[in-house]
């Protein structure tokens, strides 16, 4: 019986030397390839006596399988090593800065507008945007601001013609909604409004959000309840509202709504000018004449309406004291509202 131990020693030594793919394939060629040593053993078969041929063949096969096993084992080791080397080779400085692309953001007025919409949307309010150029009828007359009424002076109006004007408030949205919708109505009308004054606290263009609810049995208590919820969502859960008498031709009773100062909690500070309260919006029970002007039966339905200055809320919320900065569009300002 031929002893292959010599060859085996040789193979063992050789496989140990294999370090990479090149020496691996060299090994294959030297021992397992067609011209390889192990294949060469088969050629010796012809010199083996016939009765020994089967056992010789078996022994060669065993050697082959053994060598193949070693090869496969080495192959996976080499692959592992190669990958490891590749990963090391490809290593980068992950702390290097990435390609810069600035990310912009919404204007703070838009941000606050949508925060406000979200609060009321949860209460079932839809959003309607009316035209910025209105007629006297929608902006004034049908809102019970009659031609000779001094309340027209409350809102200095930009006129385009005798009849057409830049809306002075979002309240015409009430009329446009009631003209096209039957109660129950819950609608918000955000948008730009215009008044002909301009100073540190006034811009000729600013934004308002009108709210209108018309249904059966709506009362002043609902106005306060709803606005309580609104100010708590916007200014924090401890915030309270206070109603005080005011006058708008389209609501009766009309109220100014103050919120407890969220800065000092009502103790009095510079923000609330020591009063503990901050004026944030106006509202009231919809004047029955306005309902009637829109063909809604005031004996059956009642409503509440409110108007919020979006800039006012924006300024309070972000601690902006100068209104002008909102419209100056300076990058140093705009960049700060990544919310």
């Amino acid at each position: 019986m031929k002893d292959f131990s010599e060859i085996k020693e040789q193979v063992k030594a050789k496989i140990e030397e294999v370090k990479d793919n090149a020496s691996l394939s060299e090994f294959w060629q030297s021992y397992l390839g067609k011209q390889g040593v192990i294949q060469g053993l088969m050629k010796e078969m012809k010199n083996v006596p016939p009765e020994e041929k089967p056992s010789f063949g078996k022994a060669v096969n065993e050697v082959r399988e053994w060598a193949q096993g070693l090869y496969a084992q080495k192959q996976s080791q080499v692959k592992e090593l190669e990958l490891k080397a590749r990963y090391e080779r490809e290593a980068i400085d992950v702390t290097m800065p990435a390609m810069k692309r600035d990310i912009g953001n919404l204007h703070p007025i838009t941000l606050i507008k949508h925060q406000m919409i979200d609060v009321f949307a949860g209460m079932g309010f839809e959003v309607f945007e009316g035209p910025e150029i209105e007629d006297d009828d929608h902006n004034f007359t049908r809102l019970n601001v009659l031609k000779d009424h001094p309340s027209r002076d409350m809102q200095d109006t930009f006129y385009l013609t005798e009849e057409l004007l830049l809306r002075t408030h979002t309240s015409p949205g009430q009329i446009r909604t009631m003209d096209t919708h039957k109660p129950p109505i819950k609608v918000l009308v955000p948008g730009k409004v215009f008044r002909s004054d301009s100073d540190a606290t006034h811009s000729p263009m600013f934004s308002q959000m009108e709210g209108l609810v018309v249904d059966k049995g709506i009362t002043l208590c609902d106005l306060q309840g709803m606005l309580d919820k609104f100010v708590q969502e916007i200014f924090g859960s401890g915030t309270k509202t206070r109603l005080r008498p005011s006058y708008f031709p389209f609501t009766e009773p009309s109220v100014e709504v103050d919120v407890s100062c969220f800065e000092c909690g009502g103790k009095g500070c510079s923000l609330c000018k020591g009063t503990g309260w901050i004026e944030v919006l106006g509202g009231g029970v919809v004047n029955k004449k306005v309902l009637e002007n829109c063909g809604i039966d005031s004996e059956v339905y009642s409503g509440l309406a409110f108007g919020i200055g979006i800039e006012r809320i924006t300024m309070l919320k972000y601690g902006i004291s100068n209104m002008g900065v909102l419209f100056r569009n300076e990058q140093d300002f705009l960049e700060q509202f990544k919310a």
């Binding site: 912009g104 919404l106 009321f120 001094p150 830049l166 301009s198 009362t219 109603l243 009642s302």
Partner: protein, 803 residues
């Protein structure tokens, strides 16, 4: 409006502190914007008697010993004033005293003596002759002999008083007076109101010739005149002068002061005409004729129109109705006969005239808000009462009352308690409601829960149960409102609709692309249109103009957004920000015809602006194409032009074959014209895009239907072409699509120019995907490519390069 607390107390017994009063006024709808204490900053100044006075030799000073009673009987005070005498009563500021001018009195060495105080002039106490006689003299204020020694000067001079500056809402013209506020105070303090004295007696004398005629009754619904005679001219009593001066009126002459006093007290502006100056002893109230002139009491000539109501005599205008009298009928020291006027003029007309002439007076302020006919009557009666009690004149029996016939009856209506409470949402007890209404001087008759109301004549704002509800809650207190959360309202669906959501998403998309949202004013001026070099006939010059702009800079409604964007970029460049990206989504206003007949189109424009060294046409194009991709839209670009954009770097953008906007680099001339430092203009690279968002949002496809892959084989081929440099990539792409209906995707993947290609040539390489309702075979792809090659060769002279 200014109200003096002590005056208020004349009509109602105020038993609360000033602070509480202010709080209660606020609670019932009358915000006190400012509370001014008249004795503010005056401390430790007393009535003193000069017990001895001698010249301080070698100085201009006098050495006085001043007795301030309990505050110190012998105070050594030096004074430089030489109107002080032994026995004089003077204001003596003792050590530690404070004066309105900020002075604090300390012992003060003067030559070799120490003065332990200071004698005060009227000016140093902040008062003048209108407050007390002698306050205006050059020297120390000499008080009347009966001034009690030792009394606090604040008390003695009546400065222990408050002026409230109260803001009156437009629905309460009846509260533009001391009496009006007193009614409210009486109501919330539940005290009786002491009405002013309206009584007077007439002599039997009448005037035979006086006539009062109101031609334009629409502008003057009520006119009262009363003839008074034997007019005497003298100074008004101190109490009247004080009240007038605190409210901003100078004292002139008793009769004139009375008219002003009644305005403040009753809220009814009055006027006195010198009868002698009235031609034909007539008053004619009529519209002015166009161009008619009148010189008003302020000695200014006013040119009028038929919009202005004029008080005239037979020949000329003698007063601007409700605003200011005419100089020609002014009361003179020689005037002996007067026609007193109390009238109601239409409020909007007074407002218009006052505004048009820029003439704002106290009378106009009241007429503009509205006076009521009850007040007209009260005003006249009160003025006549004062005329008589002060002995200013004799009151004749010649009284004139011209009315347009408006009802002078009280308004009456019924309300039910439940209806009133249904507005408020709380149950105010019936007895409380009745009590409140009675306190407000409503007549109330109860029939079960029905209340029959008689509205006071001065409350023109009260018409229905809602008005009553407001009266109740402001008196009852808003703290009684119990917040409820729309208990009875139906549940409704809310939130943004599809397009509103898309709009917000669009904004957020551009934020993610590095753009900051801006907000600019919707108005600008024609200079902005010039800035972007629009020719005279450009459609953008057809714009809506404001009739009453506050400044020329904001005189037209914008028709194009770019100028707003360019201005914002310029401002940021000025602030040393070398690059930036902005967007605005807002309206432009496009008139359908001019002059404007109907509301103009409000078109939403999405305007993009980017500037800085790294920005190019394509960096902004990337943002726009990405936006299209994100919204399932297909934008195509063609060469375009705009007067303000680079002729070679401007594209018109299309979607569904409609032009939806443009994109381009701002012209060098426009940049050159910007108001920024020259150094910052060099290489300033501004890319602007304006997209018609109104149109784009119509193209959104809200309905999405999944289309499964049809399973047929597709084939992708590349096509490299050598073309003339001027050939547009987009045109070639379109031609490929047109040549082969099976070319479902055509994408440029490479482009270059080099010497090998030759001068004026470029290479474009497209990847084309063929698909069909069956398997696309190599043969089909080959034949499609042949078609495409033929078309690009013939249309563009393209040479197909082998790949």
């Amino acid at each position: 409006m200014k109200i003096l607390q002590s005056w208020l107390k004349e009509y109602v017994d105020i038993d609360v502190t000033t602070e509480e009063l202010v709080e209660k006024l606020f609670g019932s709808g009358f915000e006190v914007e400012e509370t001014i204490y008249l004795g503010k900053d005056i401390e430790k100044i007393y009535v003193g008697e000069v017990t001895s006075i001698e010249k301080y030799e070698g100085t201009h000073l006098y050495i006085c010993h001043v007795n301030c009673g309990e505050q110190g009987e012998d105070n050594l005070i030096l004074t430089g004033a030489d109107n002080v005498f032994k026995g004089a009563k003077v204001p003596a500021a003792l050590i530690g005293a404070k004066l309105p001018n900020g002075l604090e009195i300390q012992p003060r060495k003067m030559k070799d003596m120490i003065s332990y105080g200071m004698l005060c002039s009227g000016g140093e106490l902040g008062i003048d002759d209108n407050w007390i006689k002698g306050a205006d003299v050059n020297g120390i204020l000499i008080l009347p002999d009966d001034a009690p020694v030792g009394e606090d000067i604040v008390k003695y001079l009546g400065l222990d008083d408050y002026v409230f500056d109260i803001s009156i809402t437009a629905n309460r013209p009846d509260c533009q007076s001391v009496l009006g506020i007193a009614r409210e105070v009486a109501a919330f303090l539940k005290k009786p109101l002491k009405e002013p004295d309206y009584s007077y007696n007439c002599t039997e004398k009448t005037h035979p010739d006086i006539s009062v005629e109101v031609i334009d009754k629409d502008l003057c619904p009520r006119y009262l005149g009363h003839y008074i005679y034997n007019v005497k001219h003298f100074e008004s009593p101190q109490w009247m002068k004080r009240r007038l001066s605190v409210c901003g009126f100078g004292a002139i002459d008793a009769i004139v002061d009375i008219t002003n006093y009644v305005l403040l007290e009753i809220g009814q502006p009055m006027h006195a005409y010198d009868l002698d100056t009235l031609d034909g002893k007539s008053i004619v109230v009529r519209r002015a004729t166009y161009g008619e002139k009148i010189t008003t009491l302020d000695e200014k000539e006013r040119v009028l129109t038929a919009e202005n109501l004029l008080i005239c005599d037979k020949a000329k205008g003698v007063g601007l109705a409700g605003i200011m009298g005419g100089l020609n009928s002014e009361i003179e020291p020689t005037t002996t006969e007067i026609l007193l006027e109390a009238a109601k003029f239409r409020r909007d007309n007074v407002r218009k005239t006052s505004r048009a002439l820029g003439l704002h007076t106290d009378a106009a302020a009241r007429f503009e808000k509205g006076v009521d006919e009850y007040g007209v009557e009260c005003g006249m009666a009160r003025a006549l009462n004062l005329v008589q009690t002060m002995g200013v004149a004799e009151i004749s029996s010649s009284a004139y009352d011209v009315t347009a016939g408006e009802s002078t009856e009280n308004v009456k209506f019924d309300v039910t308690v439940s209806k009133v409470n249904s507005v408020l949402g709380i149950d105010v007890p019936q007895e409380t409601i009745v009590e409140i209404l009675r306190a407000l001087q409503f007549g109330v008759e109860e029939n079960g829960e029905t209340l029959s109301l008689t509205v006071p004549r001065w409350r023109a704002d009260i018409e229905n149960y809602q008005d009553i509800a407001e009266e109740i809650i402001r008196e009852y207190g808003y703290s009684h409102v119990v917040p409820t959360f729309l208990d009875s309202a139906k549940v409704t669906g809310g939130g943004l609709n599809y397009l509103q959501n898309k709009e917000l998403s669009a904004k957020k998309f551009f934020c993610a692309m590095g753009f900051y949202e801006i907000q600019t004013l919707a108005m600008y001026s024609k200079r902005e249109l010039d800035m972007i070099m629009l020719p005279e006939d450009a459609p953008e010059r057809k714009c809506v103009e404001l009739l009453n702009p506050i400044t020329d800079n904001l005189s037209i409604m914008r028709t194009v957004m770019s100028p707003c964007m360019i201005n914002v970029i310029a401002d940021n460049v000025k602030n040393d920000r070398s690059s930036g990206r902005f967007f605005e989504l807002a309206n432009v206003y496009l008139p359908k015809e001019l002059p404007l007949k109907e509301a103009p189109e409000e078109r939403k424009i999405l305007c993009l602006g980017a500037y800085g060294a790294d920005e190019t046409f394509f960096t902004v194009k990337e943002a726009i194409e990405s936006f299209a991709l994100a919204n399932g839209l297909n934008f195509t670009f063609k060469r375009g032009e705009r007067p303000y954009l680079h002729s070679g770097m401007t594209a018109e953008i299309f979607c569904n074959e409609k032009s939806i906007g443009h994109l381009g680099k701002l012209k060098y001339e426009v940049v050159e014209g910007l108001n920024i430092a020259e150094g910052k203009k060099t290489d300033l690279n501004i890319i602007i895009a304006e997209l018609n968002y109104s149109l784009i949002q119509e193209m959104y496809e809200p309905e999405i239907k999944y289309v499964p892959d049809n399973g047929f084989a597709k084939i992708k081929r590349d096509l490299s072409l050598i073309l003339d440099k001027k050939t547009l990539c987009g045109d070639v792409e379109n031609a490929i699509r047109q040549a082969s209906a099976k070319a479902v995707k055509v994408e440029l993947f490479d482009h270059y120019e080099n010497e090998k290609l030759g001068f004026g040539k470029k290479s474009l390489s497209f990847s084309i995907t063929f698909a069909d309702d069956c398997d696309v075979t190599d043969e089909i792809a080959d034949s499609e490519m042949i078609k495409i090659n033929a078309v690009v060769a013939s249309d563009f002279g393209a040479i197909v390069r082998g790949i």
